[in-house]
Structure formats: C-alpha cells, structure tokens
C-alpha cells in the first residue's frame, strides 16, 4: 500500500467514524460524541487561527508594514489595545478598539439598511392597482401584498397598545407573519434533507459500497 492510498483510505474511515460519532448524539450524549466534539473544536480553532494569519494578518498587515505603508500602524495599535484585555490594569484600552469597530459598523449599517430595508422596500411596495390593462388576479395580489406590508408594520408599532383598530390591523399582520413563517419552514425542508442524503450517500456508497 502506498503512502497516498493509505492516507486516502485512512482519511475516509476517519471521516466515516466521526460522522457516526456525531449521529450518535441523536440518540443521546455519549463519549463518542464528546470525543468528536472536542476534537472538532480544537481542530477548527487551530484552523481558524492559521487561516487568519495567512490570509489576513500576513497579507493585510505584516506585508504592508514591511513595505513601509505606515497607515497600517493604526490597526496594529488598535489590535494591540485589544490585547490589553489580558492585563487587568490597562484592559480599559481595549475599549478604544471596540469603540472603533462598533462606531464604524453602526455608521455603515445606517446607510445600508436605510437603503436596502427602507427605501428599496417602499419602492417595491408601490405597485399598480389600476385594473385596466392587467389581469384581475394581479390587482388582487397587489392589494393583498399591500395589506400584508401595512398590517405587518402596524404589528411592529410599539407605542400603541394592540387594542381597537390598531389591534385588529396588527392581528392581520400576525396572520401574514404566520403564513410566511410556515411557508419558509416548509420550503427549507428540502435543502436540509439534501444534506442528510449527502451524508448517507457518503456512508453507504463510499465507505460501505452498498449503492
């Protein structure tokens, strides 16, 4: 057996064994699952660290600094501030780095979400309701769409009790929400079953050779 086929076969069996370890969790927690879980956490944490180093820290920080692009000192300094967390008496410095990330994140979110979740959504809700020139069912669907959006918004009113008219409209909103959640749930089943088919195919075909 050459080294390479050994590696391939061994890897296949290791993959199969670990697959079974994870599936065993469906029955109940057990040492096999614990083994796979702890191994998985260690491997992925190590992988993540290495990946970050080679794909982000080195090309985006170390290399530019070596080329004397000094603007990269700022993230380096903020990064080091972040690490001061490990030392209680200077740990407060880490808040500077955190504040930078939160502040810039908030700024970008405001613009992105006002555009994509606000303006864009209003625009696409402005649909023609005029029955001339289009089939009746399109108009009916447009009206339903409109009722759904508006009642959904009313459901999210916080400063008004859900009583009286508001309550009734909000209740229509809930109807739409529930139908939507049910539909999304049903729609996703197929994608999840595909994943299981993939795993069973791996076990039955590649490892056992049944199929």
């Amino acid at each position: 057996m050459t080294l390479e086929t050994f590696s391939g076969t061994f890897g296949l069996w290791m993959g199969a064994a670990l697959t079974l370890c994870i599936f065993s969790f469906l029955y109940k927690d057990n040492p096999f699952y614990r083994f796979a879980e702890h191994l998985f956490v260690g491997v992925s944490a190590g992988y993540w660290l290495v990946y970050n180093y080679w794909n982000i820290v080195k090309p985006n920080l170390i290399d530019p600094l070596r080329e004397e692009q000094w603007q990269y000192l700022l993230p380096l300094v903020l990064g080091i501030f972040m690490l001061t967390r490990l030392f209680p008496n200077v740990g407060w410095l880490s808040r500077w780095a955190i504040a930078f990330m939160i502040g810039s994140g908030s700024g970008i979110m405001i613009i992105t979400y006002l555009q994509s979740n606000f303006l864009e959504q209003i625009k696409s809700t402005l649909v023609p309701l005029d029955p001339t020139g289009q089939p009746w069912y399109v108009v009916v669907n447009n009206v339903i769409l409109l009722v759904g959006v508006v009642s959904g918004l009313v459901y999210f009113f916080f400063s008004k009790a859900h009583t009286g008219v508001t309550g009734r409209i909000a209740r229509i909103g809930v109807v739409f929400l529930m139908v939507s959640f049910g539909a999304s749930f049903g729609y996703t089943v197929m994608a999840r079953i595909s994943l299981l088919i993939g795993r069973l195919y791996f076990l039955l075909h590649k490892c056992v050779g049944v199929i």
């Binding site: 529930m178 089943v189 197929m190 595909s194 088919i197 069973l200 039955l204 199929i211």
Partner: protein, 288 residues
C-alpha cells in the same frame, strides 16, 4: 385511545429513526417516482439534443466542491450520460482546485458505463487550471495554447478531440455545474464575448438568481438543485442518484406531513377527552 396519547408524548428519537429510514431506504431500494419536467430543464435537454453527434465537442466545467456534491454531482452525471449516449465529444475541465478530483470522478464514472467510448476520442479531462477568467478568455484565443496538456500530462496535440480545435467556434456548448457565481463568468466570456452557447446547473438556492439569464437567452437552459437533476434524468430516461434523491425527498416530505397530521389528530382526540387544560400549551401567541 392509548395510541394517540403515546403519539403526543412520543420520544422524538422515534421520529429520527423514521427520518433516517425514509432517507436511507430509497437510496438502497430506488422507487423511481415520476417527476414533472419544468421548462428550464427541458430547454437544456433540447439544446443538447440538437448538437450533432460525432462533431463539435462540448466543454463540461465541473466547478463544485464537496459541500455541494449532493446536489450537483447527479446533474453532472445526467448531462454527461446524455452527451455520451448521443456521441457528443466531451471536454471536462474544472476551475476550482477542489473540483479536480470531483471532475475526474464524474467523467470516469460515466465513461465506465459506456464501454465503447475511448479516452482522447470521445472524452478528455483537461484538469484544473488556476485563474478562471484567464482560462475562459484563453479558450477563445487558442485552446491548445491554454491547455498544452491534459489533466494527466499527455500533450494536447496527441488527443483526437483537440485536433482542429482552436477556440469557441469549434465548441458546441459550454456547460457549467457550480455552486458559485462562476457560471456568470462563463456567460460573460464564452457567451458575451465569443458567442458560444452556455448552459448551467446550479444549487437549488442559487437557481432563482440564475433565472434572469435564462429569460435573456444568456443561458440556453438551467438545472436547479436535485429536482432539476431528477427531471433531466427523467428526460434521458436514465434514473440515477437525483431520482433516488428525489424519492428520498418525497418520502421524507410525506412522512413529515403525515406526522403533522397524526400529531393534530392526537391533539384533538385527547383534548376532547381530557379537556383543553390537559394539553401542555406554549406561550407564544399559541404559535409554537
């Protein structure tokens, strides 16, 4: 009535076993349930059916990685089988390093089903080449310059298929199977720049993004996910993994629906008997 109460309190592990069996059984014992063919799939089938036999080859670009194998491998096999059966020469390539083994595997699987076919004449494997867009443009300029050797290191000049093959003009169609946006690059380069027909097979999630290209004619046809693959298998009358997969899908979907129905019957039957208060309710607007 004990059955209904048992059902309500049923250990969920029984459901797990049922789901496992519902998926595994059709994999081992295929049911070959019929599927209804949709238009995008039929279009791709027709386009491949119109390619004359024993003339221009098609390029099959296998651009998926292990995470999307369950959805994309069956459609790749189905299309490959169609090509092999119609004696359309096939050039298999991949744009992903992770796709190399998978592309070869798909090609060899189908080739072994057609004992009359021979490597170099009916199909070739050109392997992985980095820089997807460079390769796509390169094929338009000079195929053999882009691929001086096949995926096993054999010089391209020695391969029958590639004799007289210069660029996209000598290629009948490009077919891309991918879980990423590589098919858009194929459209951009092979179709837009060089006028070569492009067909694609993508995951079910991505299919809705790809439909617009179908309407504009930038894609000749489209396979979406496992169901697209199953439809194609139906068209070529060769039930394979997708049909089996769809069998499993059907069985599990029906199983879940039956479970929901039984659960509700049990709920109403026991409630009538013991009164509503007995049933453990949950808080959330009663919706949980």
């Amino acid at each position: 009535m004990n059955f209904w109460r048992f059902l309500l309190k049923m250990d969920r592990r029984i459901i797990f076993v049922l789901v496992g069996l519902a998926v595994a059984t059709p994999l081992v014992v295929p049911l070959n349930l019929p599927v209804r063919v949709t238009e995008p799939v039929r279009r791709l089938y027709r386009a491949i059916n119109e390619i004359p036999s024993n003339s221009k080859p098609v390029i099959i670009s296998v651009d998926y990685d292990p995470s999307t194998v369950p959805e994309l491998r069956p459609m790749t096999l189905a299309v490959l089988r169609h090509c092999f059966r119609r004696k359309i020469p096939v050039i298999v390539i991949t744009m992903l390093p992770a796709g190399a083994g998978l592309a070869r595997d798909a090609m060899e699987t189908v080739a072994s089903e057609f004992p009359g076919s021979s490597y170099g004449k009916d199909f070739v494997y050109m392997g992985y080449k980095p820089g997807a867009s460079l390769v796509m443009v390169g094929i338009g300029q000079d195929f053999q310059g882009t691929y001086p050797a096949d995926g096993f290191g054999k010089p391209s000049a020695e391969l029958d298929i590639l004799k007289g093959l210069h660029n996209y003009d000598d290629i009948a169609m490009v077919l891309d199977f991918t879980g990423s946006s590589i098919y858009e690059s194929w459209i951009m380069f092979a179709y837009q720049k060089y006028g070569c027909k492009v067909g694609a097979g993508v995951t079910a999630v991505m299919a809705s993004d790809a439909y617009p290209y179908l309407n504009t004619g930038q894609l000749v046809g489209l396979l979406g996910g496992l169901s697209g693959a199953a439809e194609y298998e139906q068209l070529i009358n060769w039930p394979g993994n997708a049909t089996i997969g769809m069998d499993a899908q059907s069985v599990v979907h029906i199983l879940i629906i039956v479970l929901i129905l039984l659960g509700n019957i049990a709920y109403f039957v026991t409630r009538k008997k013991h009164g509503a208060a007995q049933v453990a309710g949950q808080g959330q607007k009663g919706s949980s």
